[in-house]
Amino acid sequence: MKNSIKIKQAFSVDRTTFQDIFFIPILAISLAISLGLLLLLLTGESYQTALTALIALFVGSFGSVSALSETLTAATPLIFAALGIAIGFRAGLFNIGAEGQIIVGGLAAVIIGFSVELPLMLHLTLMLSVGAAFGAGYAFISGWLKAFTGAHEVITTIMLNLIAFRLLDFFLRLPFIQKEGRNDPISKSVLDTAELPRLLVLIDPNLRIHAGFLLAILAVILVYWIIFHTTIGFEFRMVGTNLNAAKYAGVNSSLTIVLAMSAAGLCAGLAGASQISGVLGRATSGFSAGIGFDAIAVALLGRAHPIGVLFSGILFGALVAGGREMQVSAGVSLDLITVIQALIIIFVAAPILVKSIFPWFFGKK
């Protein structure tokens, strides 16, 4: 499967037309949601329920301050991880391993979080950067394998995910990490100095949105700058779009691949760390919660463009928060959200399909 994948044509947003950037995603989303509701009706639910579900979806995501807070809280790790995946895409790498990188990064972060004692700022910085570093390190493995043995990153990252789950369970049982007096896989809780401050304590201390979200926005800007305005970003894009040309132009492709993959892992690691530090406060088995997989969808929907990632990240956050409300008030299972997400990916990745469904939105082609 070496030399096989070319993800490029799926997005090079810097040139896609206005239509493609706005209409396609918007149509894709509405199409996906309506299909989702249709599915609901198919399983014999009443129109009533479908309607409540739809309303709940919006109310639960943007309907109130707390809803908004939940949306952004859920969006934060998605944005981090998706930025990483976007970098990978730009360099022609398909990083399915974000999940594992989140786990490793989060685990490293939690250890720093409870084991060292430092003043707030220092402790936070240390914890986050260690998390990022470990995420990068874990991704480095796939990058190295790809660059020097040609092992396809899709397979290796998937396997490294599965391995990460086991590693997590193992480490969470180590006496040094495991919470005192427990023998289930759960880590000690991080110290207060290692918790990202919540942003809206003044309004209501229960609002979970935390400083991590601001960091995520910073990351968006930074990654944008890296991809489009730095030499390394240019090299990423060269290698990702035309490997031969990149080699001809004197780019060290192996090194670039390793760097890109590590950068991707770094973002994922941050996602894990900020999740631990801002939301969970400790690691349990399965704390990664599939964020790494949803992030793939986010990156695709955002067309591997940082700004796109920001918005699609918030959208997916909204789906999560809204979905929860949907289950409470309409009794619709969260899995419907997964379906909708998958449909969104498909429609976004197949613009021709969307165009053929809504020809009138686009000049005839």
Binding site: D169, N183, N206, R324, L334
Partner: protein, 310 residues
């Protein structure tokens, strides 16, 4: 109610608790909401949105939700919580922990199995290595060794070593195929009775037994009476180690309704019927009458404390 991993139809843990809630609904015409947790991070937001949804009492099912429930409870001192399989100390005023001395019931199950086993080997495996799971396995193993002691036999237990706290775990609560494979594995090693303590995963083991025939392999259910919850394969269940969460949950809800809810701890035991073993149903023939009466004697003994389990 917020469920733990495994889903509400796990024919076991969550399902039994949910039944308790349903009974309450049926009996008192209150209404109920359910949120199924897909993973560890769901717990806290789920509990919050339950509070948000204005529930009077929230049933948290599962040891793993201990932390989250504590947070939620402290954040919302005026709503009532009850959690299954978790005991806080110090206790929290608005949380009632329900714990179950499953080892007592499992002890009986172990004793029966030892008596029934033809190969002299019985097995067990768990979902993950946590007290609510290993509680069953401890009791089971002790039950067997008690049998060996009194009968001077040497029936072996595969898959769990109560001393070393190590054994056979699927590391998940949902891969039924693992359940089958693990049972096959134990069967290959000679076990003819297996107690799977991993929620629905055990059903995989049951389907193997169903195929081999109950003379080759018998299964011991957990949490609920599997002969009742899984009639399709009722032929293979020797008995079940029951944890009557439905009863306790119902009573808690009633307390809450009648306004005499108080935080703290209730322990389900053989004595108060919180735990027990199911009738032998189909396989009662394979349990000799004296064995049955010995078990009954044991039960009394444990209640009276005259019998030490380990």
């Amino acid at each position: 109610q917020v469920t733990d991993l495994g889903g509400v139809d796990d024919k076991s843990f969550n399902e039994t608790a949910w039944k308790g809630v349903q009974d309450a609904v049926a009996k008192h015409g209150i209404d109920s909401k359910i949120l199924e947790s897909k993973d560890g991070t769901d717990y806290e937001p789920h509990l919050n949105s339950m509070v948000g949804a204005g529930c009077d009492i929230i049933v948290a099912v599962g040891f793993l939700m201990g932390e989250a429930t504590q947070k939620a409870a402290e954040a919302n001192p005026d709503s009532m919580f009850t959690i299954i399989d978790f005991a806080y100390n110090p206790t929290i005023p608005n949380v009632l922990g329900q714990v179950f001395a499953t080892d007592q019931a499992a002890f009986l199950a172990g004793y029966v199995s030892a008596g029934v086993s033809k190969t002299g080997i019985v097995g067990t495996f768990g979902g993950i290595n946590i007290p609510p799971v290993t509680g069953f396995m401890d009791g089971f193993a002790w039950g067997v060794s008690h049998y060996n002691k009194v009968k001077g036999k040497n029936v072996q237990v595969l898959g769990w070593d109560p001393a070393a706290k190590e054994g056979l775990f699927t590391n998940n609560f949902d891969s039924l195929d693992d359940g089958r494979a693990f049972a096959q594995n134990l069967y290959d090693e000679g076990a003819d009775i297996v107690m799977p303590v991993a929620g629905p995963v055990g059903l995989g083991s049951a389907s193997l037994a169903d195929e081999l025939g109950s003379d080759k392999l018998k299964i011991i259910g957990v949490d609920g009476d599997w002969t009742v919850t899984d009639p399709a394969r009722k032929g293979v269940y020797l008995t079940s180690v029951m944890k009557n969460m439905d009863a306790t949950t119902l009573s808690v809800i009633e307390m809450a309704k009648s306004g005499n809810f108080s935080g703290g701890l209730t322990v389900g035991t053989l004595e108060n019927g919180g735990v027990g073993i199911a009738p032998y149903h189909e396989l009662s023939s394979s349990v000799s009458s004296d064995l049955a009466s010995e078990v009954e004697a044991l039960r009394k003994g444990i209640i009276s404390g005259s019998i030490k389990m380990n």
